[in-house]
């Protein structure tokens, strides 16, 4: 016992240094875990958390209402689209970038990276400039070709495509650079040997580049799958301008919870949806970590 105490004392300086951050994490990440029981209570501002009455599973009734099915579907399907399309486009662009000389790629990298620096709000302005029914560029172009204008902000059907394009546009530079950096790490000898054997560029990319960056591709994909129940709030809330007409295809768990909380003040329903999201998210993370372990042990997260 005294040995432990002695070590505790001798390392106390280091503990003290880290203590503020430890306390911070406790307050802002561990205390909110009480939210796990919140949905089983009828939360009341005046009474506070402890004195609010228990109400059992009433808050989970919404789980059986059809509203939830489509927000879960939107969340998962849109994320699946983002993950698959992003990885294909980014790897392809990185491979092309890798074909060019270093100096030229600098300029392209910088330009492609620009959208990463702006918020979804600014993206919303740009999307509005393209899609507004009266003044938007797309409708002006359609009119120039003698086609009928499209009321994008009234037509949910177009939005999965619009959101995917916006998402690819914003993260293209980021993802491309990640894969490009991985490609730069490949030993040049592989390519020399392949060239001597008469391999074409396409063959080099297919048989050397892609297999060698496969681990990082897999990790990026699995990490994103771990977040499949969480959505990019700005994309779904701001780019769609929180337009109720578009909810059939754009309403996701995060926007639903936010609206329930901030506009309806419905703590019960929003905390129940939040709990549902936490649990699904946790399960998916554990499963994807297991999947990473199957593929390459050392990249396991825990």
């Amino acid at each position: 016992m005294s040995k432990h105490l002695k070590y505790f004392r001798s390392s106390f300086g280091l503990t003290l240094l880290a203590l503020p951050a430890i306390v911070f994490i406790f307050i802002f990440s561990y205390v909110p875990l009480y939210g796990l029981v919140l949905p089983f209570k009828e939360y009341n501002f005046e009474k506070g958390f402890l004195h609010s009455p228990w109400i059992g599973l009433t808050n989970f009734e919404f789980l059986f209402n059809s509203d939830l099915l489509h927000i879960i579907r939107n969340t998962v399907v849109m994320n699946a689209l983002f993950i698959s399309i992003n990885v294909i486009v980014e790897v392809a662009v990185a491979l092309l970038l890798f074909e060019l000389g270093k100096r030229a790629t600098k300029v392209y990298q910088t330009v492609l990276f620009l959208p990463f620096f702006i918020s979804w709000i600014v993206v919303s302005y740009a999307v509005f400039g393209f899609l507004d029914s009266d003044t938007g560029i797309v409708n002006k172009l359609l009119a120039a070709f003698g086609m009928d204008p499209v009321m994008f902000y009234n037509s949910p059907g177009y939005w999965p495509l619009i959101l995917v394009v916006a998402h690819v546009w914003k993260f293209l530079g980021y993802g491309t650079l990640m894969y490009y950096a991985a490609l730069m790490g490949i030993d040049a000898e592989y390519y020399e040997a392949a060239r001597l054997d008469g391999a074409t560029r396409f063959q080099q990319a297919w048989h050397i580049s892609i297999p060698l960056i496969r681990p990082i591709i897999i990790i990026m994909v699995v990490l994103s799958i771990g977040n499949i129940f969480y959505s990019d709030f700005g994309l779904f809330y701001s780019v769609t301008q929180d337009n109720a007409l578009l909810y059939p295809t754009t309403d996701v768990i995060d926007t639903y919870v936010y609206r329930a909380l901030r506009q309806l003040g419905d703590f019960g329903m929003s905390s129940a949806a939040g709990l549902f999201q936490s649990i699904c998210g946790f399960i998916v993370v554990v499963l994807s970590n297991y999947a990473i372990g199957k593929i390459s042990k050392e990249d396991k997260l825990f």
């Binding site: 300086g13 503020p20 330009v111 702006i118 600014v122 302005y125 003044t135 938007g136 939040g274 997260l301």
Partner: protein, 290 residues
């Protein structure tokens, strides 16, 4: 062989030039719209060059700059305070758990990592910040809750692992305390890592609007992005605060909002690309192992 390679390279360059053009078109459109005449936009729509050159939108903005200046102030304060405090907290913790001779390091690593696995969610955090910490409608709500990011702590730990432990032992033999070791040895040696995380945090705070939307009601606490967000859904937002009589009658909404957008984001876009290499380094290191 050489000939075909040249042709191929030309093709790839062409591809990237087109791709880059597509990527910058939205920026150019916003910039062009801000310099357009209102009537030009209404009649002919947004385009990639100004519809009839005009500075009306900027003149109006100059007369209505109160909210813009306030939002700039709020954004600068939260970004500076959030980044500096957050870096201090995260680096100290990251340093402690990076020390191989620190027995609580593994336990603490898991303590940090667990927060990435399981989150309480939006509602309990909202109640915590507004009801228990009484931060609703204060500037603290905009940066205090997100000061420590588990992912960045683990990223810093990874960086700091590369500093040899022998250095600390030498310093200890010379009688340095943990605090001195941290400020005199760790911070100077870890500057590249700290800069990377600092820039990522600064970008995150600068682009934050969700905290404003969630935790504040008064316009004086709107960050730049939150102000833009309000303007997007409510075009009158800025002009309602201080109505101005325009000689032309109608308020130039279409051009005005784009001008606000340019003024709010322009400086960032001019500065941040110069730090891009830090971002890429951080992203690649962070991606490989959390």
């Amino acid at each position: 062989m050489i000939q075909s390679q040249k042709r191929f390279n030309l093709f790839v360059h062409l591809f990237f030039i087109v791709l880059c053009a597509i990527v910058v078109v939205p920026f150019i459109m916003i910039l062009a719209a801000s310099f357009s005449q209102e009537l030009g936009i209404i009649r002919h729509g947004y385009w990639i060059w100004p519809r009839g050159l005009s500075l009306d939108a900027y003149h109006l903005l100059a007369k209505n700059s109160q909210q813009l200046i306030r939002s700039y102030t709020v954004t600068i304060i939260t970004t500076a305070a959030g980044t500096v405090l957050g870096l201090w907290l995260m680096t100290t913790l990251g340093y402690a758990i990076s020390r191989r001779d620190y027995k609580y390091g593994n336990g603490l690593s898991f303590y940090i990592f667990f927060t990435m696995l399981f989150r309480g969610g939006l509602v309990p955090s909202y109640i915590l910040v507004t009801q228990w910490l009484h931060m609703k409608d204060t500037i603290y709500a905009l940066f205090v809750p997100v000061l420590v990011n588990a992912f960045y702590v683990l990223m810093l730990k990874g960086f700091l692992r590369s500093i040899p432990d022998a250095l600390y032992e030498c310093a200890k033999l010379d009688g340095a305390g943990e605090f001195t070791i941290f400020t005199r040895i760790v911070i100077p040696l870890a500057t590249p890592a700290i800069a990377t995380v600092g820039l990522l945090m600064a970008l995150q705070f600068w682009n934050d609007w969700f905290s404003s939307l969630l935790y504040t009601d008064s316009p004086s606490l709107l960050t730049l992005q939150a102000m833009l967000q309000k303007m997007l859904t409510n075009m009158q937002f800025l002009s309602v605060i201080k109505p101005v009589s325009m000689s032309s009658g109608a308020l130039p909404q279409a051009t005005f909002r784009m001008a606000v957008c340019v003024v709010a984001v322009g400086p960032l876009l001019l500065v941040f690309p110069f730090f891009q290499r830090f971002f890429t380094k951080g992203l690649t290191v962070g991606a490989v192992k959390g």
